[in-house]
Structure formats: structure tokens, C-alpha cells
Symmetry: C2
Subunit: 206 residues, 2 copies
């Protein structure tokens, strides 16, 4: 019966606009995200779109916040489902998997534009903190008793590995090492479990 899109209720227009924005983002990049184009894609007037988002930046932040919500859930689930002792690795694999599955959303979430607006946006701050806390909890669980400054340094290092791997994959850099052409998840698991040691280490210690 329902072949035409149903009219939006007040409660789901915001989500419909964010869905339209995410489609545009992944298809055409962040520069294509004008409120007018999103409203058109969601079949509403742009006045209706402005009712939900003050401007393009507010929409980008809302999109990033929704991305962080899903991202935090994916990381937490990966950690919970992992075999004992492998939680931290599986969280890292889930990080790269998310980046590979939603490249434009991932770039938006971690881009400088959204980072600058995070301080004034409670929903965005809370969502990105949830993702960060999965990482911090993972460090604390893997090294109980570590002082908080060391936890943060170690979390930064672990974050850097998975964030860098995601970026190198998305930007097609790993081809230079003869890697990066296969399944991103398998590659991430191989590289992350192969030892992320940057310091001098004896063979096999990684």
C-alpha cells in the first residue's frame, strides 16, 4: 500500500533530515551539505529544516553526534563480545571497521570543524565522550592500577594507532606497503595484532 513516503511527524523530521544529510555526505562529501539540498532530499521545505538546525554547522555537529553515538555503541559491543584478553584489540578492529564502512561520516566526526564546535554542543560532547570512555576503560582494564596520567598517554597512543590506520586506509596510503587492497577488517586485525610497538623491540616481542 504505502508506496509514497509518509508525512513526517514533528518527532521524526529531525531524524529524516539527518538521514538525508548522511546520504549526501557519503555520496558527495561535507562540502555538498547545504541545508537547502538536505531539505530537498528529505522532501521538506527548507524553512522546516531551519526549524531544526540553526545553520549548516549545527547540522554537521548533529550528524557527527549521531555518528559518535553509533560509533561508541559499536566499540563497546566489540569489547564486550571479545574473547578474554582480546577486548582491546577487538575495540581497535571495530574502530577501523567503522571508518571503512562510513568514511565521510568518520572524517566529519574527527575533522577540525566539528572539533572546534564541540565545546559549545552538549549532545556532541557527550556522544564523543562515550566513545572516548570505551578507549579509556579498555586501557584501565588492560593495565589495572595505572596512574591516570599514564592511562591518558596510553589511551592517546592506542587511539593514534587505530585512528592512523583508519586514515591511511581511507586515503589509499597502505598500497605503498603492498597492503590495503583487501578486506579492511582483516588487515586491521593483522596489523594491530602484529605489534604496534614503536620502540625498539627484540624480534617476536611485538
Amino acid at each position: 500500500m504505502a508506496t509514497r513516503p509518509r508525512p513526517y511527524h514533528h518527532g521524526n523530521l529531525r531524524d529524516a533530515l539527518l538521514d538525508a544529510a548522511e546520504r549526501l555526505l557519503e555520496r558527495k562529501g561535507a562540502s555538498a551539505l547545504a541545508l537547502r539540498a538536505i531539505a530537498r532530499d528529505a522532501h521538506v521545505t527548507h524553512a522546516a529544516a531551519y526549524h531544526h538546525f540553526d545553520d549548516r554547522e549545527a547540522l554537521l555537529r548533529a550528524l557527527a553526534a549521531r555518528g559518535y553515538d553509533r560509533f561508541a555503541a559499536a566499540l563497546a559491543t566489540a569489547g564486550e563480545r571479545a574473547p578474554p584478553g582480546r577486548g582491546f584489540l577487538e575495540v581497535g578492529v571495530a574502530y577501523v571497521r567503522f571508518a571503512a564502512a562510513h568514511p565521510a561520516l568518520f572524517r566529519l566526526m574527527f575533522g577540525a570543524e566539528v572539533a572546534r564546535g564541540r565545546g559549545g554542543d552538549d549532545a556532541l560532547g557527550a556522544a564523543s565522550d562515550r566513545a572516548l570512555n570505551v578507549l579509556l576503560d579498555g586501557v584501565r582494564a588492560s593495565a589495572p592500577g595505572l596512574d591516570e596520567a599514564s592511562v591518558r598517554r596510553r589511551a592517546a597512543a592506542a587511539w593514534a594507532v587505530v585512528h592512523g590506520l583508519s586514515g591511511l586506509l581511507l586515503d589509499g596510503q597502505l598500497a605503498a606497503l603492498g597492503l590495503g587492497s583487501g578486506d579492511p577488517e582483516r588487515l586491521a586485525r593483522e596489523i594491530l595484532s602484529g605489534g604496534a610497538a614503536l620502540e625498539t623491540a627484540p624480534p617476536g616481542a611485538g
Copy 2:
């Protein structure tokens, strides 16, 4: 005496154009890099600029190649000057230092646009290979006898750490961990020497 810029010889116009392009890049970003604007900034006609670069993409690749030349030299020097056993760490610190000192050039060098054009550009390919080889040689020196596939996986992991740390720093992400506001080099040294282990490790093992 020489208060006016000297006329360019055939031999240095290319460098002068690249200097102008790099100034524009760091000031206004890659999107501002039109050949016409660069020619204006270098005080030459745009016909002269087209004599050296077929199009904007060729100029971006040449700029990236020059960046990779300096980058490879900086990494190699850092490795050579490092105290015994710390070469790999110092190469990593030099990586982040370069990114922090030349953020727009760094983004250009590792961006998808330049990566796509690398295959058909011998100068760019050779320059980026030199940088990559510093990394690969570092892995081989730190773990003699390692098979080549493991060398490449380990190099990818080490690359990911320093690349990710650079990106998180440039995009203002580390503030979420209470890090990132101080000197980038000191921060890189702290984080990289604090253990980049992603796998479960006992306290203090990093």
C-alpha cells in the same frame, strides 16, 4: 641594493612557483591553490606557470614531492642523530614534528588526491618511497631477521601510530584527553615512549 625581486631564470621559476604555492597552501588551504593565484604570488604570468605545470593536479603533486623530499631527509636525520636504541622513537617524533610544522603540506602529501596521482608521477613516487624506506629500514634494524611480510605489517603499525598522532594533533582531538595543548614534539615523545601497545599488556610493560 636588491630590494626588488630578481627576475627568474628558467632554472628557478619552477622553485619560485612551488614556494608561492606552499605559502598559499599553508595560509589558505589546498582549495586556494589555483595556478593563476600562484603565478600572481610569484610575480609571473600564468602562461609561465603553465609552462612548468600542466594543471593544478600536477602542481599539487610537485608540491607533495618536494614535501616528501624534505620529510624523508628529516626522518633520516632524526634516526641518524638518535642515541643507540632510540632511533625508531626519534624518527616517530620527527614525523609528528614535521606534521605540526607544516600542517597543510602534510595533509596534502598524505591526502587521497595526491595518493591517486602517485602511480603516474615518478618524482612523487620516488620521494614518498624514500620516506617509507626510512620507516622500513627502522623496522628491519630494530628486529633483524624478521620476514618481509612481518616487516611490512610492523611498519604499517608504526606508521599508523605516528600518522594518527599527527592527525589527532592537527585536528585538535587530543584536547578531549586533556592533552594536545603543549609543545607537539614533547607530547609526541611522551605518548610514543609511553607505549603504543594496543594489545593487552601488564602494567608498566609499555
